[in-house]
């Protein structure tokens, strides 16, 4: 009984694109999984269990697709587990996989998250008609824009903050070969002049719709030690947390949700973090619309309420700032929905392993991965470190 240590010993992701026309659904998840296995220097046979996550099945039109993917995931004869917690699913899938190791049930768990949105159309699947309800929502942007407007008013934030976030994330993405968007000509003004899709959200402040997958091999302390001894630095999990809150509660704060704050408080407690702004070296947080960066900076305790946008304006969250955020280019640069949360968790792990390539933060030893879903009501976070907890 109790919690064993768990290490990330392998990470893989696909090239993310609007349409991965060269692969089947199985081919897509295998691309990420095979890279994670290769990174961990293990074979399919070494894996004890597979935990897979994705967002709604209607995206691909396959019901519980893990059943069809069982063979492709090398899961035949093994436990195969499927998580779905809306947009936070990539994060919660990683956490469920980690817990299988922490509970001492398995030695090596492969966790995978994916979305092949090109099989249908994200907008269709996200706003499927419901009888007796007028089709007003106009997609996720139409839902979240009022929350962003509330934030801007509440924090008295200047209009250009969203533009600065988009510019930062898309510029970071130029250093990430896996990113969907590589916009070499992007400028402050090209973002400012892009169509105001869902005022206050501009087109260039909006995440793309991507095909993609992410995978990790999570392993026991013994396996993590072996990897370290062989020079393959593992990332150690220092804390994991999930929180959920209702959709329709009148008590809910949709700008700075209590569930998000409690999730952060719990994961910091586990990791022994008392001052996240100082102690955390970098963070990958789930920002599908640019304004969510300052909102989450406040929700996750990196800034006082109403002050998150100042971190953006001061450049603190830039790759060379004192709290780099979304070094990979973030959800704004690649968004295979079901995988987006796991990509955040994986990037945090890559940073503390010193394996983030061109978007590596120098000396990163403690990093936060964050994902959210639903109407800002499902939260998943982890803290990973270069040192054993």
């Amino acid at each position: 009984m109790g919690k064993d240590r768990v290490a990330v010993v392998g990470i893989g992701q696909t090239e993310h694109q609007a349409t991965r026309g060269d692969v089947s659904m199985a081919g897509l998840v295998r691309e990420a999984a095979a890279r994670a296995l290769a990174d961990a220097e293990v074979s399919w046979a070494d894996i004890d269990a597979v935990v897979i996550g994705k967002a709604p099945d209607f995206f691909e039109g396959v019901m519980m697709p893990e059943l069809y993917l069982a063979d492709a995931l090398g899961a035949s004869g093994k436990p195969l587990f499927r998580v779905h917690t809306a947009g936070s699913v990539g994060g919660s899938t990683s956490i469920v996989a980690a817990q299988l190791v922490q509970a001492g049930i398995h030695e090596r768990v492969l966790t995978v998250a994916f979305e092949k949105q090109s099989e249908s159309e994200a907008m269709w699947a996200l706003s499927m008609p419901i009888p007796f309800q007028p089709p007003l929502h106009a997609g996720a942007g139409g839902y979240f824009a009022p929350h962003i407007r509330s934030y801007i008013r509440r924090a008295q934030a200047p209009d250009h903050i969203g533009i600065l976030v988009a510019l930062k994330d898309r510029t970071n993405a130029l250093r990430n070969p896996h990113a969907h968007l590589h916009e070499h000509d992007i400028t402050f003004h090209s973002i400012k002049d892009s169509l105001m899709l869902w005022d206050p959200i501009r087109y260039a402040e909006t995440c793309p719709s991507s095909d993609g997958a992410c995978a990790m091999v999570l392993a026991s302390e013994a396996v993590g030690d072996e990897a370290a001894a062989a020079g393959r630095t593992p990332a150690w999990v220092h804390g994991t947390a999930m929180r959920s809150e209702p959709t329709m509660s009148a008590d809910r704060d949709t700008v700075l949700p209590l569930g998000g704050a409690q999730c952060a408080a719990e994961v910091y407690r586990q990791a022994g973090i008392t001052d996240p702004r100082r102690q955390v070296d970098c963070a990958e947080i789930y920002v599908p619309f640019s304004w969510f960066e300052p909102m989450w900076l406040e929700n996750l305790g990196f800034a006082e309420p109403g002050q998150g946008w100042r971190l953006v304006e001061d450049g603190a969250t830039a790759l060379d700032g004192d709290l780099p955020v979304n070094m990979s280019g973030g959800v704004l640069s690649s968004n295979p929905i079901g995988a987006s949360g796991m990509l955040r968790f994986a990037e945090a792990a890559m940073q503390v392993r010193g394996a983030a390539g061109e978007h590596q933060v120098d000396g990163a030893r403690l990093a936060v991965g964050h994902a959210y879903g639903g109407g800002s009501q499902f939260f998943a976070m982890w803290v990973v470190g270069a040192d054993k907890p």
């Binding site: 059943l67 917690t85 809306a86 999930m242 959920s244």
Partner: protein
């Protein structure tokens, strides 16, 4: 060393052909009230909540999101959801309890299988390139399995009719069963085939229903429940989806899960098997090594009510209830998913007297 975790409460709705007067939130609320009320608990006493469902049943994306409102998740809760039967949601909760940070969990699931054409909806689970486009309904696929079993000499249509007759007769004593009757097996065999070699009596009903289970670890279990049903072993395994890649006459994954869960470590008083089709009970009995000393599906099983994504959790709840009321000391519950028993979960439950609880 595993932490001792027990089922301390189980509640379910009546299972019916179609609930048309309530949405899922309205279906769920009274059952959650029942499962917690029976042990004098509220949501504030629950450390972790997990549910199972699939969007394809009622045809709505993110269906679990609104259903969550039915448990009153405020202030925010530790919660997760699996796109699987509630039995796997229970597995996630069991893993979570192993970590020693929380002592209680709530697991629930809600089935509205009546909203669509279920046998056709289930074709969406198949290989989307080579099988799904042919729309091979779930009854037809089960019939392929039944024929393979008969051809292998492992069962006859008469054996299958016996399963049907016994299950529906047992269901007469189950107040929440949807389908219960008393007819001799011989009479059933005189009816026409539905999809040969299956007759209507070989197939499960389509059911709407809700189930919820409360779990507790260590002393927290004994505090709330006089005879906790300790989970002495739980495991699940999957096989390839393509029927041609499997020996359909046996359930290799059930056999594996049963070994891992320790099914054979002691005598079994009761077994609740999630066998939607009669021949599948025969396959599962074999895979689990059950003999005549074990009472199989006293509830009537999935042949009496088969609320999709819920029926597996109901099996665990039914076995736990037998331990709670002292009518059994040790039992096994089974849940399945996917075409022709593709994925299987096995859970062994024991009372304090069964010697299963490690101290």
């Amino acid at each position: 060393m595993k932490r001792d975790v027990a089922v301390i409460s189980f509640a379910q709705s009546a299972h019916v052909r179609a609930v048309d007067s309530e949405n899922e939130v309205e279906m769920l609320m009274p059952v959650v009230g029942d499962v917690l009320g029976a042990i004098d608990m509220t949501m504030d006493d629950i450390g972790f909540t997990c549910s199972g469902s699939t969007d394809y049943l009622a045809g709505q994306a993110f269906s679990f999101v609104m259903i969550l409102d039915g448990v009153g998740p405020w202030p925010p809760i530790q919660e997760s959801h699996v796109e699987m039967d509630g039995a796997w949601a229970l597995y996630e909760a069991w893993v979570k309890l192993q970590l020693g940070e929380i002592d209680t969990a709530l697991v629930y699931c809600c089935a509205r299988a009546s909203a669509g054409d279920l046998p056709m909806v289930l074709t969406r689970q198949l290989d989307p390139y080579t099988a799904g486009p042919l729309w091979p309904d779930s009854i037809s696929l089960a019939a392929l399995q039944a024929r393979a079993l008969i051809d292998a000499g492992k069962a006859t249509e008469a054996d299958m009719a016996e399963v049907a007759a016994r299950s529906r007769r047992a269901a007469l004593d189950n107040p929440v069963a949807q389908l219960a009757w008393d007819r001799p097996a011989g009479e059933l065999l005189t009816e026409d085939h539905l999809v040969a070699p299956l007759r209507r009596h070989d197939c499960p009903p389509i059911s709407d229903g809700v189930a919820a289970v409360a779990l507790a670890a260590g002393d927290a279990a004994g505090d709330r429940c006089r005879r906790p049903a300790w989970i002495s072993g739980i495991d699940h395994r999957v096989e390839p989806i393509h029927l041609g890649l499997r020996d359909l006459t046996e359930s290799r994954s059930t056999r594996l899960a049963a070994e891992r869960a320790g099914v054979h470590d002691g005598p079994l008083d009761v077994a609740e098997l999630h066998a939607p089709f009669t021949h599948q009970e025969l396959i599962l009995r074999d895979a689990l090594g059950l003999d005549a000393t074990t009472a199989v599906n006293p509830s009537g099983g999935a042949l009496a009510a088969n609320p999709m994504m819920t029926a597996g959790l109901v099996r665990i709840g039914e076995v736990a209830s037998h331990i709670h009321d002292g009518t059994a000391n040790r039992g096994v519950a089974h849940a399945t998913s996917g075409p022709c028993l593709q994925q299987n979960l096995v859970c062994v439950l024991e009372g304090d007297g069964a010697g299963g609880r490690r101290r």
